[in-house]
Amino acid sequence: MKIVVTYKWASNPQDAEVRPDGTVDFSRARGAVSEYDPVAFELARKLVDSVGGEVIGLCAGTASIDTSLARKAALSRGLDRLVLAADQALAGADSTRLAAVLAAVVRAIGDVDLVIAGESSMDLAEGQVALTLAAQLGWLGLAAVAGVTADDGVSVERELATGRQPLSLTGPAVLAAASDAVTPRIPGMKEILAAARKPVRVLALDALDLAAGPVSATVLSTSRPASGNRQQVLIDGADPDAAAADLVTALRKVGVL
């Protein structure tokens, strides 16, 4: 099987600074493979280990995705090779634009059986790109994927609000993995060293067959809302019974119990 795993190189908004005018400054926040994406890497690796094939990592973004650190962070997670669509023109690209770029690369890679993505990114937490990507490819897109196997065709298990849903696929699809689908392995020294030897291909946007989208969202103004007004009463839990008694007393006083 030829499986592409799409991931995001992103920063934690908690590390960002909100300026008084409401604009958000990420310059001091460090990038990393987005928090839930390793689950997608793990599902892909397990699948290819069981039926043969290759796992190809794919990321679209600015030059920040193409540093030695960023490449290694991805390649050490069970990839056979890596393709990057790195272009400064992608700074601030919206989910539809990113999905269009990813679709163009998946088509360029060719003969892909499955694309697997993480549940949502740690900065935007939308869970949208994978589903828009599916539509850009003309494929089925399914999120909340709890498991995937390939015995006789591809079988997918999803975890929905209404219960587990087993499906069988007879064509390519984009699957977004639930963040608890599987516990990803932590890359060891062997994986990190091997990462340096794996092939990386970097594509610029003009190498892809892509028209610029006509639709754009323009920001008219920004603001920083007043921060929360929680009590922030800290109770030392060294003596659990005393702490619990203090808490229950306080909650009764406030009237929520």
Binding site: N12, P13, A16, G22, V24, T96, E119, A125, G127, Q128, L131, T132, L133, A134, A135, Q136, G138, W139, L140, G141, L142, A143, S155, A161, T162, R164, Q165, P166, L167, S168, L169, T170, G171, A173, S179, D180, G213, P214, V215, S216, A217, T218, V219, L220, P225, G228, R230, V233, L234, I235, D236, G237, P240, A244, L247, V248, A250, L251, V256, L257
Partner: protein
């Protein structure tokens, strides 16, 4: 006088559309509805104040609703809408993604308001879990919005007769089959009706430890308020916002999107053994300690 704005709500087999209808109310009091899903859902949506329901027909047996995404997108695009709104759920975003692929529009999340300003649609949007807000306008195509799932309107709550339900031709993708039909669908748990919610995070080391927290959620007097447990990641994605009287964050670090989801709770209690966890900045009462000892102690204290 502003020209009428054409809006369209897209529905993925989920009748809880109140939030979708409400958010466009200021620019279009009678949005069009495009529904993929069961007839009962199409008929429920017809009662919510929309002007017409375009219904993709009863889903073929063994077909997940996501298989209808391309057909829904073509149908929506053919109505030339200026604003499209769908639920920020797993299935809702599949439909919205297909609409976005056809129109080229970004799918905007965190939209809190929609207004008209000199015939221009202006959106109020929250970013990064609400640490920043902005006003945005979309040009070159329709605005496509993912909005937190609403509630199911009570039958007859809208004025006037139900809108017409018009069946339309819609072919789903076929390279998929649901291999086992679950016996009867039940409504998803509605956390928003709970007076108390207990959120559980990665501080809980294994699935077996859930019984510890379940005891808290089921203990009196919490259980009388019909309390519910939810995983941290569920509260915080898909614009899932709750406003219980009491929210317990057990072993939760306080990730931004999660805290945005629970920020309307009246009182927030956090239990975490990390003094530097950001959840402690966002709570009313924070117990710093081992949850495996604290939670049973709280259960016992509640019995007193």
């Amino acid at each position: 006088m502003n020209d009428p704005i054409r809006t369209c709500i897209v529905v993925a087999d989920d009748p809880a559309v109140s939030s979708l209808v409400e958010i466009v109310h200021g620019i279009d009091e009678v949005p069009l509805a495009v529904v993929a899903g069961r007839r009962a859902v199409a008929e429920a949506v017809a009662l919510t104040g929309v002007r017409e329901v375009l219904w993709c027909g009863e889903p073929a047996s063994g077909t997940p609703i996501e298989a209808y995404a391309p057909a829904v997108a073509r149908l929506v695009a053919s109505t030339a809408p200026q604003v499209v709104v769908g639920a920020a759920t797993v299935a809702g975003r599949a439909l919205l993604g297909a609409v976005a692929a056809v129109t080229g529009s970004p799918v905007l999340s965190g939209v809190t308001s929609i207004e008209l300003d000199s015939n221009r649609v202006v959106l109020g949007q929250e970013c990064y879990g609400g640490i920043s807000t902005r006003m945005v306008t979309v040009s070159g195509g329709p605005g496509v919005l993912a909005v937190g799932r609403g509630t199911i309107s009570a039958p007859g709550s809208a004025d006037g007769a139900p809108a017409q339900v018009t069946p339309v031709q819609a072919s789903p993708l076929t390279a998929v089959r649901v291999t086992e039909q679950r016996a009867g669908r039940h409504a998803a748990v509605d956390l928003r009706s709970s007076r108390t919610v207990v959120g559980i995070g990665r501080g809980l080391k294994q699935e077996a430890d859930l019984s510890l927290v379940r005891e808290l959620a089921c203990s009196r007097p919490l259980a009388e308020g019909f309390s519910w447990m939810a995983k941290e990641r569920y509260l915080g994605i898909s614009d899932q916002q709750i406003a219980p009287d009491l929210y317990f964050a057990i072993g939760i670090s306080g990730q931004l999107q999660h805290m945005a989801g629970v920020r309307n709770a009246r009182v927030i209690v956090a239990v975490n053994n990390d003094r530097n966890a950001s959840v402690l900045d966002g709570c009313d009462y924070g117990i710093v300690g081992d949850l495996y000892r604290i939670v049973p102690a709280v259960v016992a204290a509640l019995k007193v």
